[in-house]
């Protein structure tokens, strides 16, 4: 592989790893799975980088990450039971993960729980829209559905979230 291909890939695609990892964390939950899926996606993206012309490297990478996450979920669901305790112990003791702002503040926890409770097809459009800031057209390309479907899924997702969060605040108040 020519060195400049690596450089071009690093410049055009790798800046979006944070977006990619964010999407993976919401689709797979487990941080190790998310890392593996993103790594898998990055490698696939690199192999197919030749077919990527000019355009939005972010939407392109997110498309591959999304597919990797679903593949990962399918092929590793059975493995979950065999995950060693060592992995879990490390995740707890490893200070890299302790300063995760997600564990701070009950508002964040509430919103996170509501999003996690959504079915995957609604969760992914919410994450792509609200966190990745993708346009309807880009979301349609990433998910592989018409724009109208994107709009109706977003609408359903927000209705459910508004209801869930509204209930919570009434209970709290």
């Amino acid at each position: 592989m020519a060195e400049d291909t690596v450089e071009r890939f690093e410049r055009q695609v790798l800046p979006y790893l944070d977006d990619a990892y964010t999407l993976a964390r919401y689709l797979l939950h487990d941080e190790h799975d998310a890392q593996d899926a993103v790594q898998d996606a990055a490698l696939k993206a690199f192999r197919h980088f030749g077919s990527f012309r000019q355009g939005d490297g972010r939407a392109w990478l997110l498309t591959i990450v999304r597919n990797s996450c679903y593949d990962w979920h399918k092929s590793h669901k059975m493995d979950r039971a065999t995950v060693s305790l060592g992995d879990d112990a490390e995740a707890v003791a490893d200070p890299r993960y302790v300063d995760d702002p997600a564990v701070q503040g009950s508002d964040r926890e509430r919103v996170r729980a509501a999003v996690d409770a959504l079915p995957a097809e609604l969760r992914e459009v919410i994450v792509l829209r609200e966190l990745n800031d993708l346009s309807y057209r880009e979301i349609a390309a990433v998910v592989g559905v018409p724009i109208g479907t994107v709009m109706s899924r977003l609408s359903r997702a927000r209705e459910r979230l508004a209801a869930a969060l509204g209930d919570d605040s009434r209970r709290a108040g």
Partner: protein
């Protein structure tokens, strides 16, 4: 415009995806319909709450390091370097491209040992140290004993390696201890002590040396990683990290005993 038409367009309005002509019509309706205006406000609030409260993750440096390592790996196939991979229960799919290179590397490192029984040349040791560092960044490989307490980590090495490494606690100086593990480098069981700096992992490799002479710190960099090597008091000590060199030097001054 009917309320039903208006409600259908609210999502696109909030997302700024509504055509300009439509925006005016919907806003006119909202100005005159409290019910639709309330629905609009609710959508705005929900969206703002999601944007504000939902966590955006940063890809950990260890993930970036793993990706960087796999990107550059195919280019090195014709010139393999020692790369020891542990076969974990489920072979991770992304390891496959490494496997071929690793197979060649294991054979060739065996030949290296056969050719130089005493000590592999410095550059070969450096490659082994770097390979151990990169392998440690793969999920589940960082530590065999995970603890931020030096009183757990130091005794854990008893009977596993041929020395009792210093395990200073440097949390207050911004280098929290993560744990330890045993690696195999240059024909030795090696004590590896793991620290972090922000998102960066620092591996400290220590093993007994047959050479009693001390060497000054020797700095090198390879593949985006910085390495510092010192021989001090009969111990070979290597520090490896993708941390910047200035901070790695600071760390080195803290962990390496003064001769």
């Amino acid at each position: 415009m009917t309320c039903a038409d208006c409600q259908k367009s609210l999502g696109a309005l909030v997302d700024e995806e509504l055509p300009a002509g439509e925006v005016a019509r919907v806003e006119e309706h909202l100005a005159n319909c409290p019910e639709c205006a309330a629905a609009h406000q609710r959508l705005l609030d929900t969206s703002a709450q999601l944007k504000g409260d939902l966590m955006r993750y940063k890809a950990p440096d260890v993930l970036k390091a793993r990706i960087r390592a796999t990107l550059t790996e195919p280019a090195r196939e014709e010139k393999p370097r020692p790369m020891v991979l542990h076969a974990t229960g489920s072979t991770r799919r992304w390891m496959r491209p490494l496997a071929a290179a690793a197979a060649i590397a294991i054979v060739s490192s065996g030949l290296t040992f056969a050719a130089m029984r005493d000590r592999a040349p410095a550059s070969a040791v450096q490659n082994e140290v770097l390979a151990s560092h990169i392998r440690s960044l793969m999920p589940g490989h960082l530590t065999d004993v995970a603890s931020n307490d030096q009183h757990n980590v130091k005794p854990w090495f008893n009977g596993r390696v041929n020395l009792s490494p210093d395990v200073p606690r440097l949390d207050s100086l911004g280098f929290p201890l993560v744990g330890g593990r045993v690696d195999y480098i240059d024909g030795h069981n090696v004590a590896t002590i793991v620290y972090t700096r922000r998102q960066h992992v620092i591996n400290v490799f220590v093993w007994p040396s047959t050479d009693r002479s001390d060497t000054p710190p020797e700095v090198s960099s390879s593949n985006g990683y910085n390495l510092i090597h010192v021989r001090r008091g009969g111990e070979e000590i290597w520090l490896v990290s993708d941390l910047n060199l200035a901070e790695l030097r600071t760390f080195s001054a803290l962990v390496i005993p003064r001769g």
